[in-house]
């Protein structure tokens, strides 16, 4: 990173971009390095004066100054040899409360102090502030590759431009890159909002930037940059508050992608291939056997401003579901995850091993907790797959096969009807629909009973537990609420209200 004054950027329409140095500038970088190498033994202020001489001879003097700063940072400067300057000052200032007003007074005072310190008068003055940064003497310049100076310059310019960023979005290739990026973003104390793609993007921000445009996080974004651009397939777009030559503040776009990795000296990190665990491998086998299409390592899924990382996308029987296997888990963590993934465009199933549980488990249709020995494939085959991937085959049913009394009840559980009649689910559903039932979420409700049901539910709003009691009386669950034009609004894990959709 450089001081803002050393930013060399070009503006084109609504875009701003740092000026990158390339192969043609290797000679310039080398000459700056050589200037330092020839200046060994000089004070920093003298070296800086030499740099100023050189920079006046080139078109873009800031380039020279920035390259010199890079060399300066890796060079070794040492304080002039001699007595500790703090001690010299102490003796000097102790010698009299009055300043040396006349040259004679100065001569006398210096003479006394020099005597006490066993120095010459000249050395006493030289030593007086020898611990200042600009007085330090250049003693060593490392053998830096000028190519590295160039890439450091380019990266530093990008970071310097980001100081004034009030917005940054990034995207990558592959789930692992996103996972790692999120980890790195959080480590810097920043937040993110996931935006649907393709490709999905992470909008990196701080708590304040959600409320108003601010450059407060610019420095943190600049520090984050090297971490992000090491990930595969990166692309970033930042909004930079840029002041033009006329002093007008405008927001301009700074767009960069991994195509310039060479200019920045970045070696892209190879994400290790994600190998499915035995747990997941056995599930994939079962899904294949069942004729379902399985896609491994799909792109990340944007859900409600967050990002989820399913391991599989499963398709079949006209349905789609995501599957994610989790590692160590707790009841609360899984609850939060289930809540978060409720808004997923397709059912989001969570697979976990009880061996990795740190608390008791929970029952939930989208949560599949395998045994310590492995996934209970029989359970998945019997319960999970029929629930989420019901067969679509339909069977004509004659009225003679129906149990007695079906027509008299307001609510039926479709699967119970199917079981008692020996029918497949879709056929039972069709049969009930033909007989004046509204079928939804596994329930069949007689259409003429719907106004009564709706009236009772509306009377219990907005408290979820009151609504649940009404539904219980009707042998229904809250899954039916969307059918009544209602939805559950969660205010946390424990509290919820029922509101109109």
């Amino acid at each position: 990173m450089f001081p803002r004054a050393l930013l060399v950027a070009r503006v084109y329409k609504d875009q701003v971009r740092p000026t990158f140095l390339g192969e043609e500038s290797v000679g310039v970088a080398d000459s700056v390095k050589q200037l330092y190498a020839r200046s060994i033994g000089l004070r920093r202020r003298e070296v800086e004066a030499k740099v100023r001489e050189v920079e006046g001879q080139v078109q873009r003097y800031k380039v020279i100054r920035a390259l010199a700063l890079l060399v300066d940072r890796v060079s070794t400067f040492k304080q002039r040899e001699g007595p500790d300057p703090v001690r010299v000052r102490e003796v000097l200032f102790d010698s009299s409360s009055e300043p040396a007003i006349t040259p004679e007074e100065r001569e006398r005072k210096l003479g006394e102090v020099a005597g006490k310190l066993d120095l010459s008068q000249g050395d006493t003055i030289k030593q007086m502030w020898a611990d200042l940064e600009e007085e330090a003497i250049l003693t060593h310049v490392p053998d830096i590759d000028p190519h590295d100076l160039i890439t450091n310059f380019n990266l530093g310019q990008c970071q310097t431009l980001l100081f004034k960023a009030n917005h940054l979005t990034v995207s990558f290739e592959g789930q692992d890159a996103y996972k790692e990026a999120i980890r790195r973003i959080k480590r810097m104390g920043l937040m993110f909002t996931a935006l649907p793609g393709p490709p999905p993007m992470l909008e990196v921000e701080g708590t304040l930037s959600f409320l108003h445009s601010t450059e407060k996080y610019g420095t943190t974004l600049a520090m984050l940059l090297p971490d992000l651009i090491a990930l595969p397939g990166w692309r970033m777009e930042a909004k930079i508050v840029h002041t033009d030559a006329a002093g007008r503040r405008k927001t301009r776009n700074f767009i960069l992608d991994s195509g310039v990795a060479d200019y920045l000296g970045v070696s892209l990190e190879d994400a290790p291939p994600a190998l499915p665990t035995p747990f997941l491998t056995s599930l994939i086998g079962l899904l294949d056997e069942s004729g379902l299409k399985v896609t491994k390592n799909p792109p990340p899924l944007v859900v409600g401003g967050g990002m989820e990382f399913p391991d599989l996308v499963v398709q079949g029987n006209g349905r789609v579901a995501y599957v994610e296997e989790i590692g160590y888990w707790s009841l609360e963590w899984v609850k939060r995850k289930l809540l978060r993934t409720e808004k997923s465009p397709h059912p989001y199933l969570i697979v976990a091993s009880r061996a990795l549980a740190v608390t008791k488990s929970l029952e939930h249709p989208r949560f599949i907790a395998g045994k310590k020995t492995g996934l209970d494939l029989d359970y998945v085959r019997r319960k999970v797959l029929p629930a989420w991937f019901p067969a679509t085959e339909e069977v004509e049913v004659g009225p003679s096969s129906l149990p007695a009394g079906v027509g008299d009840r307001d609510v039926h559980v479709i699967s119970e009807i199917a079981r008692s009649c020996g029918l497949r689910y879709p056929a039972a559903k069709k049969f009930l629909e033909e007989r004046g039932y509204l079928c939804a979420w596994g329930f069949a409700i007689r259409r003429d009973a719907l106004p009564r049901l709706r009236e009772e539910v509306m009377g219990a709003l907005p408290n979820l537990s009151s609504v649940e009691k009404v539904l219980e009386r009707w042998s229904l669950s809250t899954a039916i609420l969307p059918t009544l034009g209602l939805t559950v609004k969660w205010r946390g894990l424990e509290e919820a209200t029922v509101v109109k959709q």
């Binding site: 078109q59 003097y61 300043p99 007003i101 407060k216």
Partner: protein, 453 residues
């Protein structure tokens, strides 16, 4: 359903209800707002039915018992009353040396809760800590300059208060911002935004900013609620005079000055640029990226350097010092290098932004105790540092900012027995420094004594 209010990195989150201020944040399923709205949001929460509101946001440090026996001057009492009747919010404007700190002490006692004092420099931290410790007899925390000691009453630098706002924003009931004219800058304004502190007090001698950002103080701190100028407080401040000392550049210096100025002004003419204010200067700096612009910039710098630091100024300083032998004298420079050069010439201590904390304290102690009667400094002692012993100030070079000039003058205005303060402004005749001097003394004409040659 219970409404909960929590603190999240300088912001507030409201769950279970819609607050009067806030934006829905889908990521966390809550309304989010700036921490500075804590007072309004918690008042709204408390207005809900009993038991329907849980405040988990505010976690103030346990305050000590505040009691002091300091006596306030009448105008200080008026200032505190004005602040109380403004709902314990607002900015008090008093000249340097008029005792703003005393006003703050009274306000702290009135609030009697955890308090954070935000100051611009490390020296001011030392000064506030010493005063608070002395007056209230409590342990005072400090954050800044590598120290991180959090206590119910803490003094912090602006930078540290900003960096720590995400974690400390909900720990203080009372926020005091000294030299509050710095607060509305694009970065420092976040201090006001990210702290809950329902009680707020800003202190300054120079409220207005050339960029008009002081208008932001209305929302951030409560705006100006009390002001008294020098003219109303003469009985409480040291008697003072401002004297211009004009020096001639040596012929070789004048020639070089003229050449450099010509190089600079011809560049401006060629590019049809005018200097009407700071914004025009910024524009010039931004345009100086190419060799021609750089040459003009270097010429401007060199001309300024010559005007700031001609050989005759050293003679003038010697003359002034000889007239005030034995008196505590502060010498102000604009550039750090000039301060060190003068220190080497006069063999006196020097404080700049480069001075280590230990030595800075030691040099100030030496000056206060009279072990060294002269102290050279650049801009770091412009603001707030209390050196009541100083009676002479020499402004060897400075900017055109009236604020800087008034602050520098303020260093010698602390009243003392029979004290007659003198501020000498040493200027290079026939240079732009004369215009700079006029700009910085805008509004102080009647106070300036006839010039010395």
């Amino acid at each position: 359903m219970t409404v909960t209010l929590s603190f999240d990195k300088g912001t507030l989150l409201v769950r279970g209800g819609r607050p009067p201020i806030g934006v829905w944040d889908e990521r966390v399923g809550a309304y989010r707002s700036l921490a500075m709205h804590y007072g309004d949001i918690s008042a709204w929460g408390r207005s809900l039915a009993k038991g329907d509101f849980t405040d988990m946001a505010f976690d103030p440090l346990m305050p000590p018992h505040f009691a002091h026996s300091e006596r306030l001057r009448p105008y200080q009492k008026e200032a505190v009353e004005a602040w109380k009747s403004s709902g314990m919010k607002g900015v008090i404007v008093l000249p340097t040396a008029a005792g703003k700190t005393h006003v703050a002490l009274e306000a702290i006692q009135a609030v009697s809760s955890s308090s954070l004092v935000v100051v611009p420099t490390l020296d001011l931290i030392d000064q506030w800590v010493a005063k608070l410790t002395d007056v209230f007899g409590i342990d005072v925390g400090r954050i800044g300059g590598g120290v991180n000691d959090l206590r119910p009453v803490t003094v912090s630098t602006y930078d540290s208060a900003l960096i720590r706002a995400e974690s400390l924003g909900n720990r203080f009931h009372f926020l005091i911002v000294d030299e509050v004219h710095h607060l509305p800058s694009p970065s420092f304004r976040h201090i006001a935004e990210m702290y809950c502190a329902p009680a707020r007090l800003g202190l300054t001698a120079t409220y207005e900013r050339a960029d008009l950002l002081h208008l932001e103080l209305e929302g951030l701190m409560g705006g100006k609620i009390f002001e008294r100028g020098y003219d109303k407080l003469t009985e409480y401040l040291a008697d003072f005079a401002i004297v211009k000392v004009k020096v001639e550049l040596a012929p070789d210096e004048m020639d070089e000055y003229d050449d450099q100025r010509e190089a600079f002004t011809s560049y401006l003419r060629r590019h049809r640029m005018r200097f009407r204010g700071r914004w025009d200067f910024d524009s010039f700096i931004r345009r100086s990226w190419n060799p021609e612009g750089r040459a003009a910039l270097m010429a401007w710098r060199r001309a300024r350097e010559i005007a700031f630091n001609p050989r005759a100024k050293l003679d003038a300083v010697r003359t002034i010092l000889s007239r005030h032998r034995g008196e505590r004298t502060l010498i102000f420079t604009e550039e750090t290098a000039q301060a060190y050069d003068l220190s080497k010439e006069l063999l006196v201590p020097c404080i700049t932004y480069k001075t280590e904390e230990m030595e800075r304290k030691e040099f100030l102690r030496r000056f206060k105790e009279g072990r060294n009667n002269v102290l050279v400094t650049s801009k770091v002692l412009d603001e707030g540092v209390d050196v009541p012993e100083a009676s002479v100030a020499i402004v060897l070079s400075g900017s055109g900012s009236p604020r800087q000039f008034r602050q520098r003058l303020g260093r010698i205005l602390r009243p003392g027995q029979g004290k007659h303060a003198m501020l000498y402004e040493v200027l290079s005749r026939d240079t732009t420094e004369m215009g700079t001097s006029a700009r910085r003394k805008k509004g102080m004409g009647a106070l300036i004594a006839p010039s010395a040659g």
